[in-house]
């Protein structure tokens, strides 16, 4: 038993160890911290995550700002895509009305929206909307630029919409029929049959959507007017040839993305145990 646990752990750790070893070897061999800094140099940045970096504030602060931006765009996508997906999945007419149109925009990568989005929103932010021009409120609101939120929104919208439509349209008709025979109103059908039956699919779409939203972050934070966030930290560090900060930023993005994903996996495992065993 002890042996199998040991072997399992070794299998999991083999690739990361190989990776770190080759990183260390290459860094030493190249001996150029702009091309590849050493592991220790990057690790050091994580030992003091609240220390201000290259006059941009700390790693933690920039990560927090990025998270708020992602959540803003993402929540907007959830609130629009889920109801729309339910309607499109349930009513054939709504599906036919919107699907061709919606599908037309799907292949456009979020990044391709950048010029148009800048032309529309420029550097306008929530601060502009609420007409706040100074104080701490300004600092917070000004970080939520419409253009960034829009790019993140576009990235998250489609995976959520597609999964929701799929979830609702694959609800077995027997469930709907039996509910109707038992006296369900149309409201009951939506709330008590369609929504719970398709929720595993919806949550799966939300998980993928959050992943995409997080990936759109760097491109969104490279937009003009941005002065903070991990994405901006990475690009700014690049212009200063601080490759160690670039790598630290990349690692932060990876770790947080993995945690967000883990959160959804736990929810799926806890709440949707019934899907694993139904035929």
């Amino acid at each position: 038993m002890v042996k199998t646990i040991f072997v399992r752990a070794a299998v999991y750790l083999l690739m990361p160890c190989l990776f770190l070893a080759s990183w260390a070897f290459m860094a030493r061999h190249l001996d150029n911290e702009v091309i590849l800094p050493g592991i220790g140099q990057v690790a050091e940045l994580f030992t003091q995550p609240t220390e201000s970096l290259i006059a941009m504030g700390s790693l933690v602060r920039n990560v927090a700002i990025s998270l708020v931006r992602v959540l803003a765009g993402y929540l907007l996508a959830v609130f629009l895509a889920v109801p729309l997906g339910i309607l499109m999945g349930y009513y054939g007419t709504v599906f036919r009305l919107l699907n061709g149109f919606v599908a037309l925009f799907r292949p456009i990568p979020p990044l391709a929206w950048v010029p148009l989005v800048l032309a529309w929103f420029g550097v306008a932010s929530l601060a502009t909307l609420f007409n706040v021009e100074r104080g701490t409120a300004y600092l917070y609101l000004n970080n939520l630029k419409f253009s960034m939120v829009f790019i993140i929104f576009i990235g998250a919208f489609y995976p959520i919409l597609t999964s929701t439509i799929h979830g609702v349209s694959s609800v077995r008709s027997t469930l709907l029929d039996s509910a109707r025979v038992l006296g369900a109103s149309e409201r009951d059908i939506f709330r008590k049959i369609l929504l719970p039956a398709s929720s595993p699919s919806i949550v799966n779409g939300m998980r993928i959507g959050l992943g995409v939203a997080w990936m759109c972050l760097v491109s969104a934070e490279m937009l003009p007017g941005s002065l903070s966030g991990v994405g901006y930290l990475i690009t700014h560090a690049y212009t200063l040839a601080r490759t160690d900060i670039v790598i630290a930023g990349m690692i932060s993005i990876a770790v947080i993305g993995a945690f967000l994903d883990l959160f959804f996996r736990i929810v799926e495992k806890r709440k949707f145990a019934w899907t694993r065993l139904t035929r």
């Binding site: 077995r172 027997t174 469930l175 029929d177 039996s178 509910a179 109707r180 025979v181 038992l182 006296g183 369900a184 109103s185 009951d188 008590k192 049959i193 719970p196 039956a197 949707f272 019934w274 899907t275 065993l277 139904t278 035929r279």
Partner: protein, 268 residues
């Protein structure tokens, strides 16, 4: 039985439109009455429109022509006096057994404690009270159908429509559930309309058997089963009765086979 029938079906017809636009007649000019508290079975070859007929009575499909009267009222939508049990698995997989059985009363606005007490009472009726907190996927096929039956009963319907409810079960479980269904029916006195393609099942259960033709479905024969219950498959009238129904069904199957072959030939 001099009372008015609980269900009166007159010249009922149902056409379906297929993908290529041609109409298919599923049910053709069906007329029959169902007396209150009768156990009526409908047998017919597969695809003869017997499920469609049942769905129309349940109010899930609209008829192309003809009428369905329940106690003198026309049926156009589902109503709580008419319950239905489906062949396929129809329980909500995310709700445990008790919440599934309480579903009908929940839709009708019964308070929680009251509907749960009611659901529990019905679970006791089929000996499933210990499984009230189990989820459907933890139950066997026979248990699921027991729950589906009492879920329909919890709404206290007058008529119970059953669409091949035991079709997916193994032979032993099916026989067990047939017995249980008769026991429930004798206690609660519902009118039952039971669709099956099992001739044996129909003879075992029914007061009256309606034999349907191949598509488009018509009523070919109405057979009153006079044997007293509990019935035994060794009863002398059992064999001849089965023979009579099977002969009709066999002819129908052959006819529909010829029609299909001819239609396919014609298309080429």
């Amino acid at each position: 039985m001099t009372d008015a029938p609980i269900l009166r079906i007159e010249a009922l017809r149902k056409d379906f439109k297929t993908k290529n636009g041609t109409g298919v007649e599923a049910v053709a000019e069906v007329t029959f009455d169902i007396p209150e508290n009768d156990f009526v079975c409908i047998v017919g070859p597969s695809g003869c429109g017997k499920s469609t007929l049942l769905r129309m009575i349940a109010g899930l499909e609209t008829a192309t022509a003809g009428s369905i009267d329940y106690r003198g009222e026309t049926i156009s939508r589902p109503r709580k006096e008419i319950g239905m049990v489906f062949q396929e698995y129809s329980l909500l997989p995310w709700r445990h057994v008790l919440d599934n059985v309480a579903l009908g009363p929940e839709f009708l606005g019964t308070p929680r404690t009251e509907r749960e007490a009611k659901a529990m009472e019905y679970l006791r009726l089929v000996g499933m009270e210990d499984f009230s907190r189990a989820f459907p996927h933890e139950l066997s096929g026979g248990m699921r159908q027991r729950v589906a039956i009492v879920r329909a009963l919890a709404n206290d319907p007058d008529i119970l429509l059953m669409d091949e409810p035991f079709g997916a079960l193994d032979a032993h479980t099916r026989i067990l559930l047939q017995k249980e269904l008769l026991r429930i029916w004798e206690h609660h006195r519902k009118t039952i309309l039971f669709v099956t393609h099992g001739v044996d099942e129909a003879i075992y259960l029914a007061d009256r058997i309606l034999v349907m033709s191949a598509r488009p479905g018509r009523i070919l024969d109405v057979i009153d089963v006079a044997m007293e219950r509990p019935r035994h498959r060794s009863h002398p009238s059992y064999g001849p009765l089965a023979e009579r129904i099977l002969t009709i069904l066999e002819q129908e199957a052959a006819a529909s086979f010829r029609d299909t072959a001819a239609a396919q030939h014609g298309e080429e």
